[in-house]
Symmetry: C2
Subunit: 348 residues, 2 copies
DNA sequence: TTGAAAGCGCTAACAG
DNA sequence: CTGTTAGCGCTTTCAA
């Protein structure tokens, strides 16, 4: 017997045992109405006794739906996001009856093609996380008719959707909070410059400044990407300024951790000397000292919504110009902990 | 056209275009030697032009290998481990040409059966993480002939393997380090009592005590599970002892974070008053203050080895009594950071 | 309400 | 070296 073969009973075994034809079994199993109740009952009973399991490959082959979704990530899987995202994905998967196949990160390999991988595996739609709109696989995906939902990447294409947080609103609100605490010199430690979320967060930050009567200072912008290292470097630069900021909002919790470390190295206390706010609310945010005030993204919800949207995209007829909303924007939440306090010198 | 159908060229299209039979195409594509070089070259060229992608479902159906592995987790996916584990899994997957299907956490549902899920999806072997040997799906898996590799769970069964860290050695060494720093009152904050790793860590801890001429004190044992909360409670208990420990080794980094918080609440400094050591070396361990001294598990390596072992288990003939080693035990690494120092009152 | 037959895309004897 | 044929497990016309 070949390795990996499904050795359990098949539809023909059931047919034989029930004394009916395979097609009748198929109909009974699939709940068609054109089967007598007696026959159906018998088939179902026998299927159960024989511990029958449908063969997904055979089903997919006859042109049925494969009920398979793919997930592809470019960001290291170690990304603290991914775990929480998966939680929500899982729930939606169960609700809709899909299975999830992990499309490996072979993107480095020039031979590899995400779309081809999906075709080979009969993937009905794909969840995409951590892509840039310059990636090769990205372009290929857009050109294909494969339904896809991107996390945090805004795309306009026929069967492409996206889910993201309300990034602009989040940073805007952060500025408001900080302003209320008396801060007037507020800096921003940015993430990857050409990422979708980064643009919106920066934009929200600016708007927040504006709304609170604060002016934008170019020297108050630092940061390269979402890493700890970037936050660390950026904070050092910020704190070496003649007139240093009293508060800084960071593009990620990791970058905030780096920023905190830099402040500490300079003998500055948080939040007494500088307030720091993060973004994401990863698990470690509450473990760090001082506990990090941050902007929470609801990752499980994002995962859940992504699958639900993908399901709608798949159901949609290829050629129909649908009115289906293809963007899901989720609210963030301000999580107040200990890394933010009143601006120094301010009487509370 | 049915949704999810693979619309690309198939083997017959190639045959037609190349003017040969489908079986010749199949042979050429699969690298059989019984095809002339000229024919092979032509077939390959045309397959390429037609952007041919083999249909995995059809292959699996004819009894070929499905090249699909499954992964099942009971521990919350948010477990900081999972991401790093997946990194190593991914690499091995690519090397061996497998795809990975995520077997959803429907374990709660009494209808759900992991083994049946695997059969339906033609899964050749399954990676299992976070199970207890009392789980229903666990028992079913052992009884089946489905190859499986457990992470951190020791099983003796025909086609079952496991990969784990050298837990006993790790805690033993931790005690040695602490002893060398002058600590004599060393406590242990334990994890889930009946977990495999816990037994070994406790055992190693005891042995460490013994080897360093220290006696075991029952009041120096605390902790319920691997969570932060457990570490927090345990540390409070430990620190309220008349003769409180000067060092504590924790079953996880999360639990160490909780312990640190408890110490802090009691106005104790780390490491001046108490030294703390964690277990795992999750990313946050270096971000916490003081940075956590801990025992690193090489998670990517564990994932990698797990897949490799599973591959061997799959290759193994079902009935052969093999000499294949089914246990992989990986070394841990002592990561020295700032949460451990000389015992209080000791002249350094 | 049931069954016979065709066929999804592919591989594997077996013949030529 | 190449082609013919059967069949993997399933669904789906089409007839009965």
């Amino acid at each position: 017997m070949a390795v990996g073969t499904n050795m359990s009973a098949n539809i023909r075994d059931i047919a034989k045992a029930a004394g009916v034809s395979v097609s009748t079994v198929s109909k009974a199993l699939n709940g068609y109405s054109s089967v007598s109740d007696a026959t159906r009952a018998k088939v179902l009973r026998i299927a159960n006794e024989l511990r029958y399991e449908p063969n997904a490959a055979a089903r997919a082959l006859v042109g049925q739906r494969s009920m398979t979704l793919g997930v592809s990530l470019t960001t290291g899987l170690t990304h603290p996001f991914f775990g929480s995202l998966l939680g929500g994905i899982d729930r939606a998967l169960q609700e809709k009856g899909y299975d999830l196949i992990y499309l490996s990160q072979a993107h480095i390999n020039p031979e590899y093609s995400l779309v081809r991988h999906c075709r080979t595996r009969n993937v009905e739609g794909v969840l995409v996380f951590g892509f840039q709109d310059t990636d090769r696989d990205f372009v290929e995906l857009i050109d294909s008719d494969l339904p896809a939902v991107f996390i945090d990447l805004d795309i306009q294409a026929s069967r492409i959707g996206m889910v993201t947080s309300d990034n602009a609103q989040a940073t805007r609100e952060a500025v408001r909070h900080l302003h209320a605490l008396g801060h007037r010199r507020i800096a921003y430690i940015a993430g990857l410059a050409d990422s979708y979320v980064e643009k919106l967060r920066k934009q929200g930050f600016r708007q927040g400044l504006l709304e609170n009567g604060l002016s934008e200072r170019s020297e108050y912008r630092a940061g390269e990407d979402f890493t700890r290292e970037s936050g660390y470097e950026a904070m050092h630069r910020l704190l070496s300024l003649e007139e240093r900021p009293t508060a800084v909002v960071c593009c990620s919790d990791m970058s905030a951790f780096g920023a905190m470390e830099a402040a500490e190295e300079r003998g500055l206390s948080i939040p007494e000397d500088v307030s720091v706010v993060g973004f994401d609310d990863i698990e470690a945010a509450r473990s760090v000292r001082p506990a990090l005030t941050t902007i929470r993204q609801d990752m499980p919800r994002m995962g859940y919504e992504a699958v639900m949207l993908l399901d709608r995209l798949i159901a949609e007829e290829t050629d129909s110009i649908s009115e289906l909303p293809k963007r899901v924007v989720l609210p963030t939440e301000w999580i107040s902990r200990d890394s933010c306090g009143p601006a120094p010198g301010r009487i509370e």
